[in-house]
C-alpha cells in the first residue's frame, strides 16, 4: 500500500473576524491579549484534505508545522485531536518581525530537515494578513511546484496529484507531479470535528517548554508514549543564514501604521418610521438617484 509523507502548514492567528471595541488600545496599537487565538480557518481546510488522503492511504503520515510563539503549540494539539500524527513548533525570537519572505525562508529551512516530503498542504491565506504569499514562497524556496486555490484533491496516484482549483472566474482541473505545495481555499470542505478518543489521548501532548512551565515531569510518560512529545525547534535546530531571518531578512518594512479615523459626513439620521422613510425615498427619486 502506498503511503505519503504529508506536512500541513498551519498558523495560529488572532480572530480578526470578531474584533471587538476593546481590540484597539488608546494609543492606536492592537491589544492582542483580548483577541482569541484560533487555528487559521483555511489551514483547517488544508488539514481536511490531508486527512482525506490519509483515509485513502492509511499508512500516510501527517505532520503539522507551525511557526509562532509558545502558545501556538495549541495548533498542533488541535491537529492531533483531528487526526494528525504529530507536529513541530518552530519558535524563536529570531523569527520576530518576519515579513512573508523571511517567514517562508524559516519554514523552508525547517521543511528541509523533515526528510522526504511528498506533499505540503497549507491554507490559501491567513486571516491576519490575507497575503496568500507564504505557500508559494515556501514552494519557491524548496524548488517545488506549487498549486494554489485547491478546492478538492480528486486523485492521488504514485507520482501525481490531480486537483480541482477554484479560481475567481471558474474552475480548473490540473494533474501535478509530486512533490508539491498545495494551498487550499476556504470553499473546500470543512475540517472534520475533533475525535473524542484522540482528545483523551493527546490532551497531554506538550512541548518541552510547556512542561518546564507546568513544572511537571512527564519523562516517564514520554518514554512510554513518545507521540505525546510535541517537537519544538528553535533557530538552532535548523540551518539558517541570519541575514535572511526576522526583521533583517524582511525586504518589506512597515513605514507607518495609522489607526483608522473616520471622517464623518453630514448624515441625515432618521428612524424606521413610515413618514421618515417615505421622505427619504422621495428625495432620492427627486435627485434621480433612483427611479
Amino acid at each position: 500500500m502506498k503511503a505519503y509523507n504529508i506536512i500541513v502548514l498551519a498558523k495560529q492567528v488572532p480572530d480578526t473576524r470578531n474584533v471587538g471595541k476593546d481590540a484597539m488600545k488608546a494609543d492606536g496599537t492592537i491589544n492582542r491579549a483580548v483577541l482569541p487565538a484560533i487555528f487559521n480557518p483555511e489551514d483547517l481546510n488544508a488539514l481536511e484534505q490531508a486527512l482525506r488522503i490519509k483515509d485513502q492511504f492509511p499508512e500516510s503520515k501527517i505532520n503539522i508545522l507551525t511557526m509562532g510563539p509558545g502558545r501556538a503549540a495549541d495548533i498542533i494539539r488541535e491537529g492531533l485531536y483531528r487526526g494528525a500524527d504529530g507536529g513541530i513548533l518552530l519558535t524563536d525570537r529570531a523569527f520576530a518581525g518576519s515579513d512573508t519572505l523571511a517567514t517562508s525562508y524559516a519554514i523552508g529551512q525547517a521543511l528541509k530537515k523533515m526528510g522526504k516530503i511528498d506533499m505540503i498542504i497549507a491554507g490559501r491565506q491567513a486571516i491576519d494578513g490575507d497575503t496568500a504569499q507564504v505557500g508559494p514562497q515556501v514552494a519557491e524556496k524548496l524548488g517545488m511546484l506549487q498549486i494554489t486555490y485547491v478546492e478538492e484533491v480528486l486523485e492521488v496516484t504514485d507520482k501525481t496529484v490531480t486537483v480541482k482549483r477554484r479560481l475567481e472566474n471558474g474552475v480548473e482541473t490540473a494533474k501535478c507531479p509530486m512533490p508539491l505545495v498545495m494551498t487550499v481555499n476556504g470553499s473546500a470542505p470543512d475540517c472534520r470535528a475533533r475525535n473524542a478518543k484522540r482528545i483523551m489521548k493527546f490532551k497531554k501532548a506538550r512541548t518541552v517548554t510547556e512542561l518546564q512551565k507546568e513544572n511537571e515531569d512527564y519523562t516517564a510518560l514520554y518514554n512510554e508514549h513518545p507521540d505525546l512529545m510535541i517537537q519544538e525547534w528553535t533557530v538552532n535546530d535548523i540551518e539558517t543564514d541570519a541575514s535572511q531571518l526576522g526583521l533583517t531578512g524582511s525586504p518589506t518594512k512597515v513605514k507607518t501604521v495609522e489607526n483608522v479615523v473616520l471622517q464623518a459626513k453630514d448624515s441625515k439620521v432618521i428612524s424606521a418610521a413610515d413618514d421618515e422613510i417615505e421622505a427619504m425615498m422621495v428625495e432620492l427619486i427627486k435627485s434621480h438617484t433612483i427611479g
Binding site: G170, T252, I270, A272
Partner: protein, 339 residues
Amino acid sequence: MSSVFVYCEIEDGQVADVSQELLTKGRTLANELKCKLEAIAIGSKLDKVGDQIIPYGVDTLYIADDERLFPYQTLPHTSIVVNLFKEQKPQIALMGASSIGRDLGPRVSSALHSGLTADCTSLVIGDHYDKKQDKNYENLLYQIRPAFGGNIIATIINPDCRPQMATVREGVMKKEILDPKYKGKVVKLDVAKYVNDEDFVVEIIERHMEKSKVNVKGAPIVVAGGYGVGSKENFKLLYDLAEVLGGEVGASRAAVDSGLAGHERQIGQTGITVRPKLYIACGISGQIQHRAGMEESAQIIAINTDPEAPINAIADYVITGDVAEVIPKMIKYYKKNSK
C-alpha cells in the same frame, strides 16, 4: 532610470480589466518618477494585444508567445518574468491581486528576494528617512493597505530590494487610455531563452472559465448585506429591494463567511470594489476593509440597529432600525412615489 513594469493577464486574447487598471496607475507612477512604463504579456496567439496595451502609455511591451504558455501555469510564467526582471531590473512591478497574480507574485518575489505587498488599496511615491542607518531614501513606492481586520492602515515600503512589488485587486484603480496613438515598441521574446521545457510539468485536464453572471461592479445601485441581516430570509428582502430599484445585491465578508451570500458578491478589500450612485448598507458595521470597497459610492444609506456603527460616519442617510422592518417600507414608498 529603471522602469515601472506591469504583468498583463490575458484571457481569450483580451487583456484583463485589472491589468488595464494597473497600466493606468503604472503610467501615473512612471510620469512621477520620470521613467518608462513597460509591460509583459505571456500567452498564446498574442498578435493583437499590443493594440490593447500600448495606448495606456506603455513604452515597451514584451511578448512571450507560445501555445504552451496558455492557460497560465506557475513555473513557466514565473521563469519568464524572473529572467526578464533580472535583465531589465525594473524598480516597481505591479500585478493583479487575482488568482494568477497572487500565484505568480509571491513566487517571483521569493526568487528575486524582493518584497511584495498584497492587495494594496493605494500606491503613492514618497521618501523615507531611516533613523538607524541615517539614510535617506527618495522616491520609494508607498504600498498602502488595510491590515489586521481593517483596524489599521499600514504603509509598507521596500527600501533596498528591487523591484518593489505590489498586487492590487480589480476595480481598485481606475482604467484610462492615455493616447490611442501612443508610440511604444513591441519586443517579442525568444521563449526558449526564458523558460525550460522541464517547467511545463502541470497538465491542465479541464478548464471552465465564465464571466460571473453577477455584475455587482457595474450596477448603478448596490444593496449590500452584512452579518447583521441575520438570516437568509432577511437576505431575500435585499434581493427584493435590488430588483425593484434595478440594482444588484452585494455582501460584506462576514455575510459571505457565514454563508448568507456567495463569494462573487463580496465587497471590500478582499472582494470587489464598487462605485455605484447609491449604496445601501444593510446590517453592515463597516470595518475599513469593507469601506475600502464602497466608500466612493456617490450616496450611501446605512441601515443598522446600532446607532454607533462605523459605517454611519460615511453615510448620507443613517437609518437606525431593523433591516426586516425598514426594507419593506423602502419598497413600499418607492413604488408609491416613483410613478
